[in-house]
Amino acid sequence: MHIRIAEDESEVTSVAERVRAPAAGAVVTFLGTVRETSRGRRVVALEYEAYPEMALRVLREIAQEAQRRWDLGDVAIVHRVGRLRPGEASVGIAVAAGHRGPAFEACRFILERIKAGAPIWKREVYDTGEAWVEGSRVEVGRGAARLRPP
């Protein structure tokens, strides 16, 4: 399992290489990228910050949960922090599995869980001003966060 909070984009775009293996017949990857517009406004950059110690722990738990739900091989999740320009990759997920079905489903699951519960925040920077992106309120269940599945 490869879980990272990183400043370098190359760590995000190379996630597939972390999970490729002879036992896997499929590697599904997802890259989140910075869109140049948001609700009609031109976005100059996105600034990401994380609570790094906790984010690593939550990302690891999400990957482990996916591995419990599906028959998977290795999983890699890398999330960027810092100032990202439009077109740059902000998050990379790679899931290896024997077959494509579980790999596709688990990759989507991991992304939705990240968006629902990983302690990471972004703000949009415009030509004039900036604003935190309205996020997802974390729902806390018994003992641990109950993150709504997709």
């Binding site: 990401y48 609570y51 722990r57 992304l111 302690p119 990471i120 972004k122 996020g135 997802s136 974390v138």
Partner: protein
């Protein structure tokens, strides 16, 4: 017991500080004390979770000396 509380993202901006100190025995008390002491945080606290030692915590969870406590505003990773 006094606790140091880490603030992230919009909570840090609302308070104008990355760390604040408040006295509380549980997570719920902590949220109430933060809102009383830092009125600018009230709006974001109403939609925030609290993490204790890097795990999301229930309102009735007791706080112990040395716990690492953080306010987690709505998250927007991805």
């Amino acid at each position: 017991m006094k606790h140091l509380v880490r603030l992230f993202g919009p909570a840090r901006d609302a308070a104008g500080a990355a760390e604040v100190e408040v006295e509380a025995a549980t997570v719920a008390e902590l949220l109430a004390a933060l809102g009383e002491r830092y009125p600018s945080l009230r709006e974001i606290l109403a939609v925030s979770a609290v993490a204790v030692n890097c795990e999301y915590a229930q309102p009735d969870q007791p706080l112990a000396a040395g716990d690492e406590i953080a306010v987690i505003p709505p998250v927007s990773g991805g």
